[in-house]
Symmetry: C2
Subunit: 657 residues, 2 copies
């Protein structure tokens, strides 16, 4: 558990000394007894726990001993980091931001149009979501590298969840309103989590699960694009690979349009080649960055002159001109759709959050600046709430665009402002030019964009490091591909939880042996030359002892004992007289744990074996004392180190021949 | 995590040595490097995990190298322990069982009649459930002291859950059928859990939560009895204290019946006094044991001669004569009630299981014999499945009766057979005699029985030992009393889970210092005279590093570092050059954990601080190697002990002035 770290911080006076001299235990047999930490009352203990759980990063530190107005200013700066870095902002920084901003703008415009299709929304809503939210984030966010806007996975998730409730073709308006409602509640959820310092909740989605989920989602998205790249008109609304493949092959003879395919495939190859160049030579990162917009321009121009749309090449046609209309009145605050919107919002909000926070952390580590996860969440949340009132759907940080932003040398979130300015221009002026843009090109752009999300290297590493994690990863992956995005997500979450629960029910217990010529005792499995001490069994419990594992721990220790007793019998060795439980890793114990120890003590008494505890930690010894267990076991059979305990045992067994 | 323990068992060769000599580190600076455990393939690792999770008690051990027929016999004995202990059963044992059996019979008959009322069932069903299930258990169960039959809490829970679905007054038959359905599925659940070796699932209900839940249930049950003791006719169906008190006071002027009160209160006092005597003098345990049946006889006789029932004293009236009719045909296997019956069955089954297993474990420890939880569950499950087909409702082990059984000197589960024989006789012959038994007496018997479940001593201990546990306990307690049994249960479970999740998100990290004159490094908070080593920060991470806490751990370690750096600046001490992470308690690490360490390493590099790991365990070092992290950090900065690491640091800092 957590309580203490704080006291430890205060309680530890920095007495300084030269490096320790060598230690000869026989000279100083028992210099130190196990220490009891200072007693603390309930209130103290409780507040410490809360503090460590919700404010471990101690955000209020800076506010200490400050005057009222200063406090207020600092608080404003805390909420709007722009006030802080804005003052030191200069032209050289702006140059970096300008270039980065233009690059990600060129990248985001075609992506936005495509992603809004994933969410079953008209293209302009994608652009809207790249105009307002980035501005809000630029003022409130503390990440310097993240690029804000609609992203593929969230768009897909939102789209399929909304589609379950309302049919986007039949009643468009209702669908749109529900989308805004979901966006609103997504924002509320994100802001609330951050404000209530519950950010750690998103940590319950394990890295492995996310890798699997993202990979699956990416493939699902790519498959969806076949509709555009192959020019198929009647395409399934389902996202699972089976039904998608069916509707692809089903339409092979009549549905496919060769002109579309030529455009789509040709540009897909071009884009992938550009990506490849960018990978090969980091200096040429801008090639894949500007490739999409270039291909859009080329393709549009090509269709315009050849009028290929007459040959059945589907084109974007009309994108509504002008900036975001207000949509506050469209959000459902009453009626049956509130609950649905809320549910969808929470799910999409959390996924968006996970993605954004992950990105933020990654780049923060690369440039080595601290990032307050909870603060980020407040920023992202506010951004989406504002968005939901200005015709935007859920926006978050995009992996691909953030990477480009970083490589293009962005300095601050001003690059997001530049981007949104470009998007504004697009909305005001350029949208008509997209009339002849073939959907095929958008499809290939999205395919080339999401391919990066299939992180097979990470999967391989996961396989190498932790097989259980790999199962979680694959579960999520196949869940998304073969069932649906929601199911995949569900699998990911449940496997993550199952892992946590398993880990706390079956902690490890190991047998310790002595490394010859030292007073060090180590796991006899890891250190094969560690040797047993005759008549003594030394077991280390590698976890806190809680209700969820106390019985297991008790039974397991007894099993170690019986195993050793059998071995001793076989080899005609002296009988076991002592059981030493090394408790260094036992960081906490609860009432069930205490009972388990008591039961262990009783059954050992029946066998005339003495129970000895070695190095119980501060919390544990505190609780052992509180429960009077120390008196049962006898405080003279609790030692600071295994070495001391063993010395005690051998001296005792010498006394009684 | 779990994998390994098994290998460790096999891998640990018992090389024996004399107690270790004293150790002088300066002589032997680095005798041992951190050991790498033998590599294992996925299949091996996976099977080990499964084995340790589900078969940690290694139940198949005994079947090794046995011939086919013997195997079968052993398997039969495993399923029916009676075949094992039956052969060594003798008259002296039977004497003990006979007395114990008669005692618990005298106790259970009135209780059964009362408890069946709690479940809104006719009295005979309580008796039925004390006839068949004990017989089944006697053959299959492995606990020698548990007394089987209906119990108060489960009866109440079943009653209130069933009442939510069907009104027991309006459509009696449907209610009864649903009760049998629930019982059937309760049995299936219990047997399945045991058979699939998922017994550990019930460990997720923490001891504290159970104490609170039981206490609350006991008080709720006692309050329900006021209806009988005060002779109130129209009584609320709700169980929360508020509505119960309302209907008690609401009926104060007209509803109460003074004759009933006289009987009820008088005998309640008598019973409590008997209990008191039993507590005072353990030899007189039989006084409270036979008190109930005595008072039933007295009260019945009294009512019979005075015909008090004419004065409005409610009596049991008719109890159906004869043994259990078959009820297999009454169980719902189709229709809407299957799902409901299943849900109710699972809940009640789990609670029954928790109670029975707890009892079994308690007495197994007292008499020091092993009890296989999963095997017990199979026995209890089968017992309830059979019960559901012979007009019984959910039976399990009763705290109070088992204690009496134990004190009366039962030897084997034959005492249950004796009891069920007496119940059989009752059903065949004596039931008519209960005609004039006043309900009041049953009420007072139940009150005196359940009062024992309010375990305030345990609550006090919990308060002393673990405040968080205490909150869980109180949550469950008040949940049951003020809301309902289900709500209380829900609170209990959710708080238990919340505790687990909290414990894995916020592990403890502590600062280590050197105990002067030794090579021991300990928590500077627990050991105030532990001293810092200049230029070195030593942090111990007290938990496995998983996705759920990896970011927290990383940030926390960095915070320790900055705190120490500030301190060093203030006191004008040498700058920090080394960060030693003591990893002894870090029993496992997953991919997220690896990433966290990598990030930590990177940010330390930026600060020109060297990251040093001390004593990573077998699993951890394996994974560090698999992820190539050892190469990053450099295997020469991974040490076996903190002492070695510190010696390395000081030698290095001497080299570079």
């Amino acid at each position: 558990m957590v309580h203490h770290s704080i006291d430890e911080a205060t309680g530890n006076e920095a007495n300084i000394t030269t490096p320790p001299p060598s230690y000869n235990p026989s000279e100083a047999p028992l210099m130190y007894k196990v220490g009891y930490p200072p007693q603390r009352n309930f209130a103290r203990e409780f507040t410490d726990t809360l503090k460590e759980t919700f404010f471990h990063d101690n955000p209020l530190q800076q506010y200490k001993d400050q005057s009222g107005p200063t406090k207020f200013m600092m608080w404003l700066q805390f909420l709007f980091p722009v006030l802080e870095w804005g003052r030191t902002y200069n032209f050289s920084k702006f140059k970096g931001d300008l270039i980065a901003g233009l690059t990600i703008a060129s990248l985001c415009i075609p992506q936005d149009i495509g992603y809004s299709k994933l969410a079953n929304l008209d293209p302009q809503y994608g652009l809207y979501s790249s105009f307002i939210p980035p501005l809000v984030y630029a003022a409130m966010g503390s990440s310097r590298d993240i690029a804000i806007g609609p992203v593929a996975v969230v768009s897909l998730l939102l789209g399929s969840l909304l589609q379950n409730e309302v049919d986007s073709n039949k009643n468009k308006e209702e669908y749109l309103r529900l989308a805004f409602t979901a966006t609103f509640f997504a924002g509320i959820t994100q802001a609330a989590l951050g404000f209530l310092r519950l950010g750690f909740l998103i940590e319950f989605l394990s890295h492995a699960a996310i890798v699997g989920f993202m990979g699956g989602a990416a493939i699902t998205i790519a498959l969806q694009q076949l509709k555009y790249v192959l020019g198929i008109r009647d395409f399934t609304k389902k996202t699972d690979i089976v039904s998608v493949m069916e509707s692809v092959w089903g339409s092979v003879h009549h549905g496919w349009n060769w002109q579309t395919m030529v455009i789509g495939v040709a540009f897909l190859i071009f884009l992938l080649f550009a990506k490849y160049i960018g990978k090969k030579n980091k200096k040429l990162f801008w090639v894949p960055a500007i490739a999409p917009i270039t291909s859009v321009i080329l393709a549009t121009f090509f269709v315009y002159i050849t009028r290929a749309d007459k040959q059945g090449v589907q084109i974007v046609n009309h994108i509504k001109k002008g900036i975001n209309p207000s949509s506050a009145h469209k959000i459902y605050f009453t009626g049956p759709f509130v609950a649905k919107g809320f549910k969808i919002g929470v799910v999409c909000g959390l996924i968006g959050l996970t993605e954004a926070v992950a990105i933020g952390r990654t780049f923060a580590t690369l440039k080595d600046y601290q990032l307050d996860g909870n603060k980020e969440m407040v920023a992202l949340g506010t951004m989406n709430v504002v968005g939901s009132m200005t015709s935007c759907y859920i926006a978050t940080g995009s992996f691909s665009r953030s990477a480009v932003n970083f490589m293009a040398g962005c300095q601050t979130s001003v690059s997001n402002v530049v981007m949104s300015a470009v998007v504004l221009l697009t909305l005001l002026v350029i949208t008509p030019l997209f009339k002849y843009t073939p959907n095929a090109i958008l499809g290939s752009i999205i395919i080339s964009a999401v391919i990066g999300l299939v992180d097979y290297e990470a999967a391989i590493l996961i396989w190498k490091v932790d097989k259980m994690d790999f199962i979680a990863c694959m579960g999520a992956f196949f869940g998304v591909i073969f069932a649906s995005v929601e199911i995949g997500l569900l699998i990911a979450v449940s496997i993550s939880f199952a892992k946590i629960l398993l880990q706390v029910t079956r902690p490890r217990t190991v047998l310790l042996g002595n490394l010859p010529g030292t007073t060090i005792y180590r796991n006899t499995y890891q250190y094969p030359d560690a040797r047993h001490v005759p008549g003594v069994v030394i077991v280390r419990v590698d976890s806190a002892i809680y209700f969820s594992n106390s019985n297991y721990v008790r039974e397991r220790i007894l099993r170690w004992l019986t195993d050793e007793e059998d071995k001793a019998k076989e080899m005609g060795l002296p009988r076991i007289n002592f059981l030493i439980v090394e408790m260094s890793p036992v960081i906490d114990i609860d009432t069930s744990g205490i009972h388990a120890l008591e039961d262990l003590y009783k059954s050992l008494q029946k066998k005339e074996i003495q129970l000895i505890l070695s190095n119980p930690g501060s919390i544990v010894i505190e609780k052992l004392r509180a429960s009077k267990l120390t008196e049962h076991i006898g405080s003279n059979s609790i030692f600071l180190t295994v070495a001391d305990a063993v010395r005690f045992c051998s001296s005792k067994s010498l006394q009684e021949p």
